[in-house]
Amino acid sequence: MAAAAGALRRLVRCGPQQGLGRLLQPRSGIHGSAPAAVQVTVRDALNQALDEELERDEKVFLLGEEVAQYDGAYKISRGLWKKYGDKRIIDTPISEMGFTGIAVGAAMAGLRPICEFMTFNFSMQAIDQVINSAGKTLYMSAGMVPVPVVFRGPNGASAGVGAQHSQCFAAWYGHCPGLKVVSPWSSEDAKGLLKASVRDDNPVVMLENELMYGVPFEMSEEAQSKDFLVPIGKAKIERQGTHVTLVSHSRSVGHCLEAAAVLVKEGVECEVVNLRTIRPMDVESIEASVVKTNHLITVEGGWPQFGVGAEICARIMEGPAFNYLDAPAVRLTGADVPMPYAKVLEENCLPQVKDIIFAVKKTLNI
């Protein structure tokens, strides 16, 4: 337990200035004998994706609070205003409903805006523009008016920011036809999904995680390329396993991998599925995994009722994988309370590594 907690503390580093992407090798020109993988933080991966897409297509621009001269509230857009100027990187007043509508209108008129919410909690002020204006227009116009906008920003719990700043919106946006919803975990996810989202002609909601921004991941040479995309709608098997399927998204994927590392010492091999996309959900990958392992646990930070885990369980029941379950599917979720402030309370309101280990053992009856 202590080892798991220690590993967890190492993995997750809070604070805005962590992990400026230490490059271990030069990125181009000089090739060693091994593939030139580098350590890149999620923040830097997002920054690269933004830079590359802004450079690639004149119609792409970024708007939001503090994205320009402040370099981004979480420094995701660091350096971009200096490089691209006022036309492409636009600081907005604190007017979510207004600037979100402006982003959507700009998309309708042929531009490709990236609309940043400082956190997705503030997107609630603008949710009508996201769902009714962006999400539904292509359908209502019978295909005449596409809305190629990306809404992005940190989602879910942070560290001690209190109830109004900690909500997870995966279920809210995942509920709506007309929107695509993605939720990256690693740097590769973040970069590839952001690039894919910008190039997608549909409105895409990209749910990042503030606590992941400073976390470094190894990025392969392929992932460093300017045309590296992660397909929307396809999950990734982060760890192969045979005894139980752990399905998760965003930060919880890391917790699942931590739990798997502990459980392997007891002979339990967990298969960890990183959803990457909430909508359209890659049910086939989950089904294939459940057919193999016969046990399913979903792990998420959001509230239990009507959540991502609830949807996964329902879909498994409705499909062929149900016949392969040896135990009821289990949802691990955030606690059904507004997020408290005190550290010990907050930690216990989110699924921890020990909770995942406990759930696996209970499901496997060991």
């Binding site: 007043p93 959507v104 209108g105």
Partner: protein, 282 residues
């Protein structure tokens, strides 16, 4: 009438050619007939759901269109049938859409409130939501640098929406080529303007945005005011606000049986104007 931030107003005289007069008249009459027919079809339950009719306000949509180019952009709320027509959708496509047929302009998937055309962005059901959208379209106009503008319409009821004030701020800050147009037909659904607004000077509500009040029943007033506002926007001076004072003859929608009195009829007004000027006969 104009707000103090404008030094000059639109011209007080206009030139109307025979071709123009007859074209405007035909267009307004077509919309009038189309809306009255829609009223009938709704009562026969052939049109379902919501149906917000535009009869009475025809001088607004025809006057606006007369002042802009097809390459300019326009967005409005749900009382949109007139605009769908002036922006290029045929009567057939509009009625087919209203009656849920695949020959409708949105293949029957949109209905009364969601009709779109080239450079016409609907048809929007959520009161006030179209206003930030319109400013976004104006942002795209400025971004692309093609000398286009966006006309962003809303009603007297919507004028009290917070998102409109957020939009005024950003449009003025960024000098977006957007004409905000308040179609004041005196009633927000069933509520008269005096009961909804602390200030019914809708043309002044934009505060730092120059505004003018226009007789929306007189098509030439609408046309000339819009030309003036369009020139203002195209010259890079930023947004303008126009209040068009008008009337609707039906209730808010077909569910509203309200009878509104109006002594003015904009279609008749134009008819008599061109008659008096001797334009009808060659």
């Amino acid at each position: 009438m104009r707000s103090p931030s404008l030094e000059e107003g639109p011209p007080v005289t206009a030139v109307l050619t025979r071709e123009e007069g007859l074209h405007y008249y035909r267009t307004m009459q077509t919309i009038r007939r189309m809306e009255l027919k829609s009223d009938q079809l709704y009562k026969q339950k052939i049109i379902r759901g919501f149906c917000h009719l535009y009869d009475g306000q025809e001088a607004c949509c025809v006057g606006l269109e007369a002042a802009i180019k097809p390459t300019d952009h326009l967005i409005t709320a749900y009382r949109a049938h007139g605009y769908a027509y002036t922006r290029g959708t045929s009567v057939r496509e509009i009625l087919a859409e209203l009656t849920g047929r695949k020959g409708g302009c949105a293949k029957g998937k949109g209905g009364s409130m969601h009709m779109y055309a080239q450079n016409f962005y609907g048809g929007n059901g959520i009161v006030g939501a179209q206003v930030p959208l319109g400013a976004g379209i104006a942002l795209a106009c400025k971004y692309f640098g093609k000398d286009e503008i966006c006309l962003t319409l809303y009603g007297d009821g919507a004028a009290n929406q917070g998102q409109i004030f957020e939009t005024y701020n950003m449009a003025a800050l960024w000098k977006l080529p957007c004409i905000f147009i308040c179609e004041n037909n005196r009633y927000g659904m069933g509520t008269s303007v005096e009961r909804a607004a602390a200030s019914t000077d809708y043309y002044k509500r934009g505060d730092y945005i120059p505004g003018i009040r226009v007789d929306g029943m007189d098509i030439l007033c609408v046309r000339e005011a819009t030309k003036f506002a369009a020139e203002h926007c195209r010259s890079g001076k930023g947004p303008m606000l126009m209040e068009l004072q008008t009337y609707r003859y039906h209730g808010h929608s077909m569910s509203d049986p309200g009878i509104r009195y109006s002594k003015k009829d904009c279609v008749n007004l134009l008819y008599w104007l061109i008659y008096i000027q001797g334009l009808l006969s060659g």
